[in-house]
């Protein structure tokens, strides 16, 4: 018999609360219903997920593994049931420039979704650095760009931040830092440090470390967020990571805590940029509209496209 989401939901509630009876209260159903659902679940996956005791239900190793997958499933289901689909049927070519790190760690999913949302849109992606992007936008070689907006210099370039994620210190649970009133870079400098080498993190790190008088004691550099998480969780070091890599749930045995540092650490801002003088065509509007909805930025009216966005009209009436 195939499993159901109902079973997964009951399983997760029980795993989190450690007791079927508690889970039943949480789920507002009877406790026997939960018992049966879990029994059937165990039977169909052919694994013992819980250790039964008089004090409740404790996860077995198999159960922990299953819980992890269960979270992933529920996460995907949530995503699927909360789709916001950009409307319209845009045709045409859009020449997009993006920086290396944005292409690597930010764009991929969005490119896929854009392709699905606008099958008629032909997105030509170019990987160039910030300077070349600014030039290219003004030259009209690129229609629009995706980059770290805090780095944009040229006043003729307009930009809009889509995602800003603050950076925090990640430590294993029971780490002494958690008992301190305040933790600063001076403290961090004395700990082994796991450095993430994506998204200019390494460069940005250097910038904020250099303004302090300390430097991180780098134990390992890696481009894998998961590796950083694993290593921090297992007590091999600490890291300063942006909230972008936040996971909505933590897992037993995967104990991570975050601390806001005493010193201000710059946030990571990713967003769009375009030439102020540019006219927004349908493709550009669609691209922008997609990102606005993806990051829950209030939509603007799209009645009179092609048109320059309102706040551009102020500085450049040639829309």
């Amino acid at each position: 018999m195939p499993i159901s989401l109902r079973q997964i939901r009951y399983f997760v509630a029980t795993a989190e609360l450690g007791q079927i009876s508690q889970a039943a209260v949480e789920l507002s159903i009877s406790q026997s219903a939960v018992t049966t659902a879990i029994r059937e679940l165990e039977r169909t996956v052919n694994l013992q997920l819980f250790e039964r005791s008089s004090s409740g239900m404790g996860l077995t190793p198999a159960g922990r593994e299953f819980l992890f997958h269960a979270y992933e499933i529920l996460q995907k289901v949530h995503e699927a049931t909360h789709l916001t689909i950009p409307s319209g049927n845009v045709e045409g070519r859009l020449v997009v420039a993006a920086t290396y790190t944005v292409i690597g760690y930010f764009l991929p999913d969005h490119l896929q979704r854009l392709q699905r949302a606008f099958p008629g849109l032909d997105i030509q992606l170019h990987e160039v650095n910030r300077e070349a992007i600014e030039e290219g936008l003004l030259d009209e070689r690129y229609d629009i760009a995706v980059l770290l907006t805090s780095n944009v210099r040229d006043p003729q370039i307009a930009s809009e931040t889509m995602m800003s994620s603050t950076r925090r210190l990640w430590v294993p649970s029971r780490h002494p830092f958690l008992k301190k009133a305040r933790v600063g870079l001076a403290d961090v400098a004395r700990e082994p440090y796991i450095m993430l080498t994506v998204d200019e993190a390494a460069n940005t790190s250097l910038s904020y470390w250099s303004t302090s008088h300390y430097s991180p004691n780098v134990k390992l550099r890696t481009s894998s967020v998961e590796a950083v998480r694993s290593m921090v969780a297992s007590g091999q070091g600490v890291a300063i990571l942006s909230d972008m890599v936040y996971r909505p749930w933590s897992l037993e045995g995967q104990r991570l805590e975050t601390i806001v540092l005493q010193e201000p650490v710059p946030a990571m801002n990713v967003g769009l940029a375009w030439a102020r003088h540019a006219r927004f065509n349908k493709a550009m509007e669609a691209f922008r509209a997609y990102f606005r909805q993806a990051f829950h930025i209030p939509q603007m009216r799209t009645d009179t496209s092609p048109s320059a966005p309102p706040h551009l009209a102020k500085t450049d009436g040639a829309g």
Copy 2:
């Protein structure tokens, strides 16, 4: 009302077959059951997923997006229901060395799963290059290593390949190459090329390109597999990618084909390595057993641990 996996399964079948009646046959249930399930699904996600016509059901853009998510959900469910859990309760520390690329693109998931499977196992991960790994294994500074096994040189190092994935040429559908009897590097050299910069792909590429007399016409270098897929699918270039990044389903509008190249292109081999003289302790056995089961390599008996693996005993009786 929350959605159910049943609805998702019916939705997927209908989306794939284009007709509710066909899907009903495929699912061995009545047509009206499918109709109802899909109607309810559309109602709860509040999206029109299909365009109804007298010829059947065509996906709307929202439907295509949902289908993508539906596949992900079913994929996760499949994973969750087919867990193979390494047994045992291993305690202790394991010092693991791995190369940069392996840490970045191969280990993360496995590290997580290992942590869950063996909560008592304290994995100390070190990122070092191949040479240092070989030295470190012989010095007993590292217990075991994960690396590209084809690169291992020292005969005192034993290795075991876990995953071998061949590289193929990826082209958009309707590409002229698909009509050719044979495609070689000479042909590829004339096409814009999207180069993936992970897993030593760039280096390896150079090695097989250099043995030919051609060189790729690199249009874009990126570390994102998804970006490569997007760009190849939208006709912006071709790429030579390993099967490791294979996705079990393709999506309309995401049309990719693969071609085996005329010239032999080296496969990518990832695996474990250890010093031949090393005794396998419980932690090492567990580590190895985990990977063996993860990649469906026949299990060996683990009765008399600690012990050297059988094929080592031949060359080194000091097990």
